[in-house]
Amino acid sequence: MPDTFADLALEVRSKNAGPFWVTMELFMRDAAGYALAADPEILNEDVVATLYEVRAEDVRFFRIPSLNVVKISFPRPIPQGSLRDRDIHAGQHHVPLAALAACGPEKPA
């Protein structure tokens, strides 16, 4: 089994950024883990769009090598507090990202 981002991270978290956006951060343990998380061949707008069923053009990436952090923001697909919102603070939505294999589709570890 290849490593997941959770395996290589100190923490993967998600949270509302205001009522209309959700934001996630991968706090990678070291520069090697960061290199995988920040590699656009492995983790990019299209991967996030597929994972969360959102539009790739709405996904924003921030790669911050000084912190070994990759931050990802996109508009909340389900309005906060609506009938079908099951995560009011969007605090559990990091799990699909954390469970992702930290390798590209063509590059099994």
Partner: protein, 457 residues
């Protein structure tokens, strides 16, 4: 303030008034020379109910407990206390609710402090004129606003910047109770008034807004930011906690869409060039933060009623049903829809429901990467309709199904585990956020109204 000081020290005891902090965290801040206490009392983070209903998420006793410590400290040190987004959403009722608590404490403690209340609630008619004049613009991902959306809101607030707070301080207020304000404006107002540069001031204000969140122990007490001409220094007030360059820089990530740029009413904070340096194991120096003035805008928040909800909750331990839980839930949805049509005569547009399988996939639904069978599953039925009576009627039609529905292949009726009697809980009115727009302003204080209550000598 006649002469501009060399530095200004901002004490933030907690990220949320009512969340609690120790007396020692405040004492330590005063010992270190705090010039102002700033604390946030609100957020949209817990959803649209609090703005929609104009009620607070926090309980009065917890708010009073924190305020008593802060009011005593402000009086003792003769420094201002600034509270923002009073009553969770910053509605006028929220400001008055906190002001009532403050008045009781001032009387009980015989504290002679002047109190300013800054109201931030907006009238739909006024905003409609602005909208027609082309002065209201959407923020991503929202679209253009229409008048009916403004009219439909139960409450609309404007997020004030530092300007109305500074105006109240200049007018002599010892305690400023602000309606909806940006988290940062509370901590920025006093240093800006004292002549500190805006880049370091706004950046420091963002770092302190969640109290101990920027430290290595987020459950520790508050923090103290010392802002000066070239930057700011941040340190935790709990002697056992530490600020590190990583913990401070990482706080710019928290609950922000963009970790480098943040829009305030008066312009944009830009921390892309900021440097974070450890002064010692507990204190961090930050320099290089910039603030770019821009056309003044005020962000609007509004919520409207979206119906009434009734909830019912049962639970399943039977392994056969658990093995076929999605089929079971699909059958529940199908039969419930049929029964509601037969008994209540309701169609799709009259009501809506959500069946949530807690323990299976309630939180992430089809996004969930796991597929392990659950040991038990809690089944929440949430019904939304125009009236409470209708929502409850639908939930009651569901009741025999949530008690006895088998899977399609079972030839006997199971009895499932309701969690409570009665099974249904009426949740009352529910709301939705509908505004994500900014209004252009001529003056930074024009949308806000301030009332003063002088200290009893």
């Amino acid at each position: 303030m006649n002469t501009s000081p060399e530095a200004v020290r901002v004490l933030t005891p907690t990220g949320m008034l009512g969340a609690g902090f120790t007396q020692s965290t405040v004492d330590r801040g005063l010992t270190l020379g705090a010039d102002v206490i700033a604390v946030d009392a609100g957020s949209t983070d817990s959803g649209p109910y609090y703005l929609g209903s104009g009620t607070a998420k926090t309980t009065a006793a917890a708010v009073a407990r924190d305020l008593r410590i802060l009011l005593r400290a402000a009086a003792r040190a003769q420094i201002p206390l600034i509270v923002g987004s009073c009553g969770t959403s910053g509605t006028d009722s929220g400001v008055d609710w906190v002001a009532g608590i403050v008045e009781d404490i001032l009387r009980e403690e015989s504290l002679a402090l002047s109190v300013a209340r800054i109201y931030s609630e907006q009238r739909a008619e006024v905003l409609t004129e602005r909208l027609r004049a082309g002065k209201i613009h959407p923020l991503a991902p929202s679209g253009a606003l229409d008048v009916s959306t403004l009219d439909g809101c139960s409450h609309i607030v404007g997020m004030m910047g530092h300007e109305p707070i500074e105006e109240a301080l200049r007018a002599g207020a010892d305690v400023v109770l602000a309606g909806r304000a940006t988290d940062t404006a509370l901590a920025a107002a006093y240093p800006l008034m004292a002549g500190m540069p805006p880049g370091p001031t706004w950046h420091a204000a963002k770092i302190v807004e969640c109290g101990g969140q920027c430290t290595t122990n987020p459950r520790a007490g508050g923090v103290l930011a010392t802002i000066d001409r070239t930057g700011f220094t941040i340190e935790p007030l709990d002697p056992d906690a530490a600020c590190t360059p990583i913990s401070v820089a990482a706080h710019m990530l928290y609950e922000t869409v963009d970790p480098f740029r943040m829009r305030e009413p008066a312009g944009e904070l830009d921390v892309a060039a900021a440097t974070y340096t450890a002064l010692d194991p507990r204190r961090v120096r930050v320099e290089g933060s910039e603030f770019h003035p821009a056309e003044h805008t005020v962000k609007l928040e509004g919520a409207r009623i979206a119906g009434h909800e009734t909830m019912s909750f049962t639970a399943i331990r039977d392994e056969h049903i658990l093995a076929n839980i999605e089929d079971w839930a699909a059958l529940l949805a199908k039969i419930l829809t049929e029964r509601v049509g037969q008994t209540l005569g309701l169609g799709d547009t009259d009501y809506a429901f959500d069946i949530r399988l807690y323990g299976h996939d309630a939180i992430l639904g089809k996004l969930d990467p796991a597929s392990r069978p659950a040991r038990e599953v809690g089944v929440m039925l949430l019904v939304r309709a125009a009236t409470q009576a209708l929502a409850t009627a639908v939930a009651k039609v569901a009741n025999p199904l949530m008690l006895h529905l088998p899977t399609p292949d079972m030839d006997y009726l199971p009895s499932l585990a309701f969690a409570t009697s009665p099974a249904e809980t009426e949740r009352g009115p529910v709301y939705e956020f509908v505004l994500n727009h900014v209004v252009d302003t001529v003056s930074p204080t024009e949308l806000f109204r301030t009332a003063y209550r002088r200290a009893n000598a």
